[in-house]
């Protein structure tokens, strides 16, 4: 399934609403969308995973890559509301150690570290 991305500015950051599959087939689209946000000097990228159905092993690698790239430019990445299957994948790979996971946008913006 294809992926749609929509960028939405919020105070002190950008929310990227994702929908569809975060997979090998959609990697260029995801990388381009995220890199455009980083180039603009965004310090906090919030990936809204509410409508992401599936993440494969390539998608997982991309998330790690994005998190590393933001760290290099003094930024950070958070994740919003991954759904059942995606949440399971994330926790098996312990990805929340790298990218904090939040259940709502306010908490993500405040950067409150709360186990999700």
């Amino acid at each position: 399934m294809a992926m749609q991305t929509k960028e939405r500015p919020v105070p002190n950051g950008v929310v990227l609403d994702l929908s569809g599959d975060l997979t090998y087939a959609n990697r260029e689209q995801f990388k381009t969308a995220v890199e455009a946000i980083r180039q603009k000097g965004c310090r906090h990228l919030i990936l809204n995973m509410t409508d992401v159905r599936f993440v494969d092993s390539s998608g997982l690698g991309l998330l790690a890559l994005v998190s590393q790239n933001f760290k290099l430019s003094q930024g950070k990445v958070s994740m919003l509301k991954p759904q059942s299957y995606v949440r399971e994948i994330m926790s098996l790979a312990n990805i929340q150690k790298l990218i904090p996971v939040y259940d709502n946008e306010q908490e993500a913006l405040a950067g409150q570290k709360r186990a999700a």
Partner: protein
């Protein structure tokens, strides 16, 4: 002529006057001309000379024009030949029949010099396009064949890296199976002999498929060789080995990485130690029949260079079996998309009970194949079973 190379035209006509006149005309236009006096010698000339264009008379004894065309179209070698059929009575029905039986175009015997020139040029142009297409297809086929040979040679090399099944140490038996999804796999497993009754075992999975995944996994396997580990890690502790491997193998620029399980079997005190990095593929089957998955939620290698991977220790007993496996074994969908899954794999292992491990390993693969209803796995499949035997292990 706009072509630098002289083009060849074959003229097939049993009537000498018409044939000679046509041949003379074509020669004046700059073509090389071959003449054939009937259908049979025409077919021979076509095969021998492979002309760019054949001009063919309809009315001939034995093999007439349409029959000639039919033979050419059925012939694997000749079927792309360009044929211009000549007729003295060009009725629409006759033209339709000629085209249906395999002619490419028609030329009336009463045609003007200009029309002949134009039709011949058209035929020659089509012939050169077809020839170019054939050449390119042939070139692609040759390159494809070369690539496949290289892939096969690389695949044989990767398989040569796999350990030989059998007795790893006195009292320790190993069996395995390996089925890469694309000939060349990103999964790899091996054993490392640490000496003094201590054994290292690992199974790794490079993300992605094919050549690049295979190269990456071969390079991690090289890092995990005995001498290299002792030199760079200075320890046989699985956690320490993965912690160092994590520093040595960062994410690639495409976000590729490894997941791995590394285990250490100490037969002196019957301890199994293991560490995992994003990998959830090891099952310990106790001699009692109880099964447990060896996995800790942990980042894959390369995700965060500050990660410390921690070793977990277990005591094992004689007849315990350890299966290291890639998720490609159980993440296989049935035709409705339902995955075979870890639980069904567990059931299969349980059902085999204490049957020889070779049967368990081949049985688990066969069961996964039955589930997906075809032989070809969507992902690499690797499975290594290790058993600690009764007695003086």
């Amino acid at each position: 002529m706009d072509e630098k190379v002289m083009k060849t035209v074959l003229v097939v006509d049993d009537e000498p006057t018409a044939r000679i006149a046509m041949a003379a005309r074509l020669k004046r236009l700059g073509y090389r001309v071959i003449e054939a006096v009937d259908g049979k010698s025409g077919l021979d000339a076509l095969r021998r000379e492979r002309p760019d264009l054949t001009i063919l008379d309809w009315m001939m004894p034995d093999i007439d024009g349409p029959a000639f065309c039919e033979r050419v179209r059925r012939d694997a070698e000749l079927h792309t030949s360009q044929i211009l059929m000549m007729t003295s009575h060009d009725q629409p029905e006759q033209i339709a029949e000629g085209l249906a039986r395999g002619a490419d175009d028609f030329l009336s015997k009463a045609a003007s010099k200009y029309e002949i020139m134009a039709r011949v040029q058209t035929g020659v142009r089509a012939a050169s396009l077809i020839r170019r297409l054939e050449d390119v297809t042939e070139e692609i086929r040759r390159k494809q064949e070369m690539l496949e040979r290289e892939l096969q040679s690389a695949a044989r090399y990767v398989e040569s890296l796999l350990p030989s099944p059998g007795t790893l140490l006195p009292g320790v038996q190993m069996v395995h199976t390996y089925r890469p999804s694309l000939g060349l796999g990103g999964d790899l497993f091996n054993t490392v002999s640490w000496g003094d009754g201590v054994l290292g075992l690992y199974l790794l999975d490079a993300s992605g498929h094919g050549v690049s995944a295979s190269l990456r996994s071969a390079s991690l396997a090289t890092f995990l060789r005995r001498g290299n580990v002792l030199r760079h890690v200075g320890s046989t502790d699985p956690g320490a080995i993965l912690t160092e491997a994590n520093r040595q193998f960062p994410l690639t620029e495409d976000g590729h990485y490894f997941t791995i399980i590394f285990a250490r079997l100490d037969t002196r005190n019957r301890t199994l130690s293991y560490a995992t990095a994003g990998h959830n593929g090891a099952v310990l089957q106790r001699s009692s029949g109880e099964l447990c998955w060896l996995a800790q939620p942990n980042l894959p290698l390369g995700f965060d260079d500050s990660t410390t991977y921690v070793t977990t220790d277990l005591t094992i007993s004689p007849s315990d079996r350890l299966y290291l496996l890639s998720d490609g074994l159980y993440e296989v969908p049935d035709p409705n998309g339902e995955l075979w899954g870890q639980e069904r794999l567990e059931e299969t292992i349980r059902r085999f009970g204490k049957a020889p491990m070779t049967e368990v390993v081949s049985g688990a693969v066969a069961e996964a194949i039955r589930w997906q209803r075809h032989e070809q796995f969507p992902d690499d499949v690797a499975l290594m079973g290790v058993e600690v035997l009764d007695g003086d292990a």
